[in-house]
């Protein structure tokens, strides 16, 4: 019964609407491009304007989440642009990065379901390694852990590239095969984390973290020093990637391969070498993103897969292959997602209730669908 009603609703309302949209887009492509981008920006601007006055705290958290997503999304968009496949393992690789840093810092692995084993020595045993730096909750131990994780994850992905993806390329496999293979690697990665560190959530530093109050004039927000650190790291790394892509020979070659791999080869660019460097850069960024994510929330083997959705939504919204797009997309998704749990409006008689936090990832899906409808190439993407 319900199914029949839904079916009728879809055929009478949704289908004619999408069809009309498609026809109009075919007739006026340029106009639709501009309107689509304008619609996305306007809706987002309205959301932020409203949220900043009534829910400034959620906007701030959204920016932090957006920063973390951006670091993952940049790698995802580079891999998609250069190797032309959706890397479903990116979320789990992100979490693996967080766990590698955890291991370097504490030397801890799970022995049984509820018991841990600690190695006799780890970076955390260095004098002062756990001493908080300034107002941050962590010491230089975690920073070393993060750097090691970035290197380990980069090498891990380069190894996978050589062992798994390169043979597939030699065989001339389709992008579907690549995507499904990456999905398999995602499961393997997640299983590895479960085996080595167990299913229970962990944290880098336990205890209560004190947040500082900041008076913005019209409202006050609370912010932890850690969160300012996350934002700063994300911005610095994004700027570095931008410089790499637009100022260095390797970066220009990466953009050239994104544009046209055949012409790149004809020009003498070694595309395999470009692929290797793409994994190195994407891996290092996503490992850092994983550590920041674990700092903001916790270490949890399943969290990476959950985050895959907003990661993809960010890249699609920003435009596949565009790093500045990934940053913008991640910020929009991060802020919208966090703010959605605070929306509490009543317009006329209509009551809009806040979203239960568990559902906030659905906001990313809605934004993704909306983007695909009104501006399929994304905000910064080149037209297909």
């Amino acid at each position: 019964m319900v199914q029949a009603i839904v079916q009728i609703l879809i055929t009478t309302f949704v289908e004619p609407l999408t069809k009309a949209l498609r026809n109009a887009r075919e007739r006026y492509p340029a106009l639709f491009d501009i309107l689509g981008a304008a619609a996305i920006w306007l809706i987002f601007a309205a959301l932020v304007l409203w949220a900043i006055t009534s829910e400034a705290q959620l906007v701030v958290i959204g920016i932090i989440v957006g920063s973390i997503l951006a670091l993952g999304a940049i790698g995802l968009t580079l891999i998609y642009g250069i190797m032309k496949f959706a890397n479903f393992a990116h979320g789990d690789t992100m979490m693996l990065g967080a766990y590698v840093a955890f291991f370097v810092l504490t030397g801890t692995v799970a022995r049984t379901a509820r018991e841990d084993t600690e190695l006799p020595w780890s970076i955390g045993s260095l004098p002062g390694a756990l001493e908080p730096i300034g107002k941050l909750t962590f010491g230089y131990g975690l920073i070393i852990g993060t750097l090691v994780a970035a290197v380990v994850i980069a090498l891990f992905l380069v190894a996978l590239n050589h062992l798994v993806y390169r043979p597939l390329r030699k065989r001339g496999s389709s992008i579907v095969v690549f995507a499904v293979t990456s999905l398999g690697l995602a499961m393997v990665t997640r299983a590895l984390m479960l085996i080595i560190w167990g299913p229970d959530p962990r944290v880098y530093v336990s205890g209560i973290h004190i947040a500082d109050k900041y008076d913005l004039g019209f409202t006050t927000i609370t912010l932890k020093a850690d969160q300012i650190f996350m934002f700063a790291v994300a911005i610095v790394l994004t700027v570095l990637v931008y410089f790499l892509l637009f100022r260095t020979k390797l970066g220009k070659a990466m953009r050239a391969v994104t544009d046209n791999p055949d012409l790149a080869r004809v020009s003498g660019i070694d595309t395999e070498q470009v692929f290797t460097w793409t994994w190195v850069i994407g891996g290092a960024l996503v490992a850092v993103a994983g550590v920041l994510l674990a700092l903001q929330t916790q270490l949890n083997p399943i969290l990476g897969f959950v985050l895959l959705l907003p990661l993809f939504a960010s890249t699609i919204l920003g435009g596949i292959g565009s790093p500045q797009g990934a940053l913008a997309g991640a910020m929009i998704i991060g802020i919208s997602q966090e703010v959605s749990v605070g929306i509490d409006l009543s317009i006329g008689g209509l009551e809009i209730l806040p979203l239960a936090p568990a559902y906030k990832f659905s906001v990313a899906v809605v934004i993704m669908i909306f983007t695909l409808l009104v501006r399929p190439q994304g905000l910064f993407g080149a037209k297909a």
Binding site: A253, R255, A256, R265, V266, S267, G268, I269
Partner: protein
């Protein structure tokens, strides 16, 4: 001296054989045009010579050296450059960056070469910091030629350089090709625009069904009756 020789080349896409033993020769400083109906294997020949398609049988000699089956990277290093028919620039890179990518394998300072190459193409020079995707069709073709010149090749392979260009642009592109040739670069081009291209060529080959059909000097092919009927529209 013979710069390039393809001897009885057999090639194609996957299982499909398109060239059934084609031979061509290019002497130093020559412009050689390859014409023929659609599906004759003209582009396939260029791609096979440049190493983009595997050479199943036959040999390719470049500067007297056997280069059969060498990769495009190796060919580019040896001084052969190739300009595809379409998608021959990087649209999201600027004109300047396109030229830098053309010089990708150079280890020396290629900046003077960029100035030198851009001086040949004033239209493109003006739009140096524009993304190549925003150039007109003719400008793109110029940029594609300029990109291929960055490695100072001894021979250029051009796949239909006049395809889908406005008539005045065709003339301009051909005059640029002549300029490049006069600077000492041998040129092999595949063309639909048979009459115009034969006029400026030293020699020409006509392919049909993946085999050599006719060959001769540009003028002799233009005067040839059989050729006239079949490919020049009477």
């Amino acid at each position: 001296m013979t710069v390039l020789e393809a001897r009885e080349v057999v090639s194609g896409y996957g299982e499909v054989e398109i060239l059934h033993g084609v031979s061509i020769k290019v002497e130093e400083g020559e412009i050689v045009t390859i014409i023929g109906p659609n599906g004759a294997g003209k582009s396939t020949l260029l791609k096979t010579v440049f190493g983009l398609l595997p050479c199943k049988r036959g040999k390719v000699f470049f500067g007297g050296e056997d280069v059969t089956g060498k990769s495009p990277q190796v060919m580019a290093r040896k001084g052969m450059c190739y300009v595809p028919q379409s998608d021959n620039v990087f649209p999201s890179l600027t004109v300047q960056e396109n030229l830098e990518m053309g010089a990708f394998i150079r280890r020396d300072d290629y900046r003077p070469k960029i100035e030198e190459v851009l001086a040949l193409f004033p239209d493109v020079l003006e739009r140096r910091y524009t993304r190549a995707g925003k150039l007109s069709g003719g400008q793109r073709q110029m940029l594609a030629l300029a990109r291929a010149l960055m490695l100072e090749p001894s021979i250029l392979l051009l796949d239909e350089p006049s395809a889908s260009l406005a008539p005045n642009m065709v003339e301009l592109v051909f005059s640029k090709i002549l300029d490049i040739n006069r600077s000492g670069v041998a040129i092999v081009m595949v063309e639909q625009n048979a009459r115009e291209s034969l006029k400026l060529s030293h020699r020409g080959y006509i392919l049909a069904m993946g085999q050599n059909r006719l060959e001769g000097t540009g003028e002799s092919l233009l005067d040839n009756e059989e050729m006239g009927k079949a490919y020049l529209g009477g």
